[in-house]
């Protein structure tokens, strides 16, 4: 990931580090939409997403002194949001199971294309929220957040091959959901 920080971003970070409440609000407004949707796709419901995003920004403002600029501030906040969401999922004892049942080997080799009329953002968004926790989280991290399978494996404490399998499983289930719901 490229680390391109503008002087405005640097200044904003410095103001937040000094405890400037206005700067905190500017930073919050800048990232709230993206963080809320990232967390929502992991948590799967809006109440939990609100709690997690709140906890995430409290951590961001309290730990901002430890931000060294190795990654962009957006990437740093996103990592905190994802870790907080995954911890919250685990605390709730919701299974972060990485199951591979119900899908035959042959299906993994199926054609991946989907009819264009099914590819609406809203339909995909709703279908993603209906996926099982484990494969949904992998799909989110890999496809929506842009992490590599190696990074996904580190974040979720699974093997790289499990990440790849779960990603394929998520896509099969996603296609099935879109077809059964909208065809």
């Amino acid at each position: 990931m490229l680390n391109i920080q503008t002087s405005q971003e640097k200044e904003l970070v410095q103001r937040v580090q000094r405890g400037d409440r206005k700067a905190q609000y500017i930073m919050y407004k800048q990232y709230i939409d993206a963080m809320y949707h990232t967390v929502l796709r992991i948590m799967n419901n809006s109440t939990d997403a609100q709690d997690v995003v709140q906890e995430c920004f409290v951590k961001v403002f309290e730990k901002i002194h430890s931000y060294r600029g190795d990654a962009t501030i957006g990437a740093w906040i996103k990592r905190i949001a994802i870790n907080t969401a995954i911890n919250a999922l685990r605390k709730k004892k919701r299974n972060l199971e990485f199951s591979s049942d119900e899908i035959s080997e042959a299906r993994y080799a199926e054609e991946e294309d989907v009819a264009d009329n099914l590819l609406s953002n809203k339909k995909i968004h709703d279908a993603v929220l209906n996926l099982p926790n484990g494969c949904r989280t992998v799909l989110n991290l890999y496809l929506f957040e842009g992490y590599s399978h190696k990074e996904v494996a580190t974040i979720l404490e699974i093997t790289e091959s499990t990440s790849k399998t779960q990603f394929r499983r998520a896509k099969i289930l996603l296609r099935d959901t879109l077809k059964s719901k909208y065809v």
Binding site: H37, Q50, F57, E62, L143, F144
Partner: protein, 174 residues
């Protein structure tokens, strides 16, 4: 078309699929930060008060121990004057902060700690006349006032910080 490609090409629009309750979340963040700040503040003052209690305890023990013979040596007037001066400084600082106008929800626990310190000082003063070593006793009382003054100065800084935060919040429009 491929789902991967579609999501990657439309990545940003997936961050605007649901209404975001940003106002409610922001209020929650502010409340959470304030609660944590109060907790930190209390821990800091409780720690300072604990230092004073520890520091004063041996002296109070000596004062109340009836086996120690009464000291007959007169206390030098300079030390007495110093003690009085420090006592006045701490009292003035307390008046200046005007506790009545401070939010007890934020500072209540600190007020209690300072009340305990005040009553400890009153005990100490009452027993001062029977002290086995008046000079040492007054020296301890001076250090007691210095610490108390330091706590009040820290409290003053925190009150200023709190005011600044409230001013910022009042200018932020959600």
């Amino acid at each position: 078309m491929n789902i991967d490609k579609h999501i990657q090409e439309n990545r940003e629009s997936f961050d605007h699929m649901e209404p975001v309750p940003s106002e409610a979340i922001w209020i929650g963040i502010q409340q959470n930060l304030r609660t944590r700040q109060r907790r930190k503040l209390f821990i800091r003052y409780a720690a300072a008060a604990a230092i004073i209690c520890t520091f004063s305890a041996p002296f109070l023990f000596n004062l109340s121990n009836p086996t120690i013979p009464e000291n007959k040596i007169a206390t030098p007037p300079l030390i007495l004057a110093q003690e009085k001066q420090y006592y006045q400084l701490a009292s003035d600082k307390k008046d200046e902060l005007d506790f009545r106008n401070l939010d007890p929800a934020i500072y209540g626990e600190i007020f209690s700690e300072l009340d305990i310190l005040d009553s400890m000082y009153m005990d100490l003063k009452a027993e001062l006349t029977n002290s086995p070593d008046a000079e040492r006793a007054i020296g301890t009382a001076i250090r007691f006032h210095e610490r108390r003054l330091r706590i009040l100065e820290l409290l003053e800084k925190e009150i200023e910080n709190q005011k600044r935060i409230e001013e910022h919040e009042s200018t932020i429009k959600i």
